[in-house]
């Protein structure tokens, strides 16, 4: 492999690492915000256990619901006694009629504005008497952070696409122009006419596939050895490949007649 091609492979490999790190960083941060949503449950209180049971059957199949747990009034009483050291007032507390509670935990990734509105609509429709507690400020804060993070990610993604196109097209044209003298001599000395076009195609394969295969290999090696716990959608690598293919096509068009 020629020095020029080797240099391009290395440069693209480094850009791809940066691009993958941006993606992993985004996934990592998004997971944190989504975990915050997951760890903030909604508590529902009702004097009628049946209505909570009915409500559970209505909502538990939704994909944004992680878990629904009904806590009996007796259990609540025990927990109050335990948590607040109310052994002395045990009998008094047991004499009170306590409500039954239902704790809903969410799948952070899926519990967004539409899902929250849907849940509120179900609550209103089926159990209007139910009292519910939910830390909406925290949820909204996390949703806003996810939104900003996503916007920043897409901006970064776009910049990486532009950077990749710019660098790979520029480098390719630079090295092709640099080799013009060689090819002129090659052709005038009796070399095979279509060799340059063929070589350009072979070099395009090197440039498109070697850096990408190295990146994918590193990623799967990290996953295999459990050094990385974040997953990259395989379509993401497809976008990277597509960008590299497009850059090669553009470079081919730019170099144009020199390839004959």
């Amino acid at each position: 492999m020629k020095k020029g091609i080797f240099f391009q492979v290395i440069a693209i490999f480094i850009i791809l690492i940066g691009w993958n790190l941006l993606h992993l960083g985004f996934e990592f941060q998004k997971d944190i915000f989504e975990d915050n949503i997951s760890t903030s449950p909604m508590m529902l209180l009702s004097m009628q256990e049946n209505s909570l049971e009915q409500l559970r059957s209505k909502i538990e199949k939704n994909d944004y619901i992680k878990d629904v747990a009904i806590i009996q009034d007796s259990v609540i009483a025990e927990r109050l006694i335990e948590n607040y050291d109310l052994e002395g007032s045990n009998e008094i507390l047991r004499s009170y009629l306590l409500p039954t509670a239902m704790q809903i935990t969410f799948v952070g990734e899926k519990f967004q504005i539409e899902q929250k509105q849907e849940l509120e609509r179900i609550l209103l429709e089926y159990s209007p008497s139910v009292i519910y507690y939910f830390d909406e400020t925290q949820w909204r804060g996390n949703q806003n952070k996810i939104e900003i993070l996503t916007k920043v990610y897409y901006a970064g993604f776009g910049l990486f696409v532009i950077l990749m196109l710019f660098i790979s097209i520029f480098l390719r044209i630079h090295f092709e122009m640099k080799s013009n003298i060689f090819w002129k001599i090659y052709h005038s000395s009796g070399g095979y006419i279509g060799k340059r076009r063929k070589q350009f195609f072979v070099n395009s394969l090197y440039i498109c596939f070697i850096p990408l295969i190295l990146n994918v290999t590193i990623y799967y090696a990290l996953i295999y050895f459990q050094l990385l716990h974040l997953e990259i959608d395989y379509r993401f690598f497809g976008i990277e490949l597509l960008t590299l293919v497009i850059s090669s096509l553009f470079a081919g068009i730019a170099v144009g007649k020199n390839l004959k």
Binding site: I181, F182, K184, I185, S189, G190, Y192, I193
Partner: protein, 205 residues
Amino acid sequence: MLKIEGFSLSRENKKFMLINEILIGSGVRVNIFGNNDTGRSLLLRSIHGDHHDYGGQILIKDKPLVFYKKKKKTILLDNTSHLLINETVWKNIIIPLPKITARQKQKILELCTISKLGDKIGNKVKTLSSSSKKFIELIRAVIQLPQIILIDDLENYFDDKNITVALEICNFALNSGTSLITTSKRKLDNFDSYYRIQDSKVVKL
């Protein structure tokens, strides 16, 4: 192998380099000589397929030049240098070769020895004389065994002694059926056939 029929070049509506017919067989050395500005270089470029503005037809192995557009069968050595001056003699010789066989390698070394490049094979081309540079181009052409080697202004690069060496180098290709067509200002020795450019016409001697 080479057939030129009714060939003519024109400049300002005036025709020159008129060739009624030239037939050149395989493995022959041809010298076309004449004064400057008679169209010698254009004739070679026309045979090579680099110049298309001519009358008549040129056939190589009974096929028109357009047939060889993608697979040239001729190699033209002209006045311009076609060498990578910062590369070695060896690298320059093997530029067009897709693979170097042991026989080719041995032959290249042999031809380099004949042209006194044997001990300079690892030297950079920029350190060599202009005749040595032309020997590199000649060896590179010869080793590929094309159908025709075209050398423009042979006497420009080589003195009489070196012309003999150059022809000796060409013998390797000539024995394999390659033909050699050279142009010069004067008639050169040791060629199989001669053509003189006289009054805008090419005449066989």
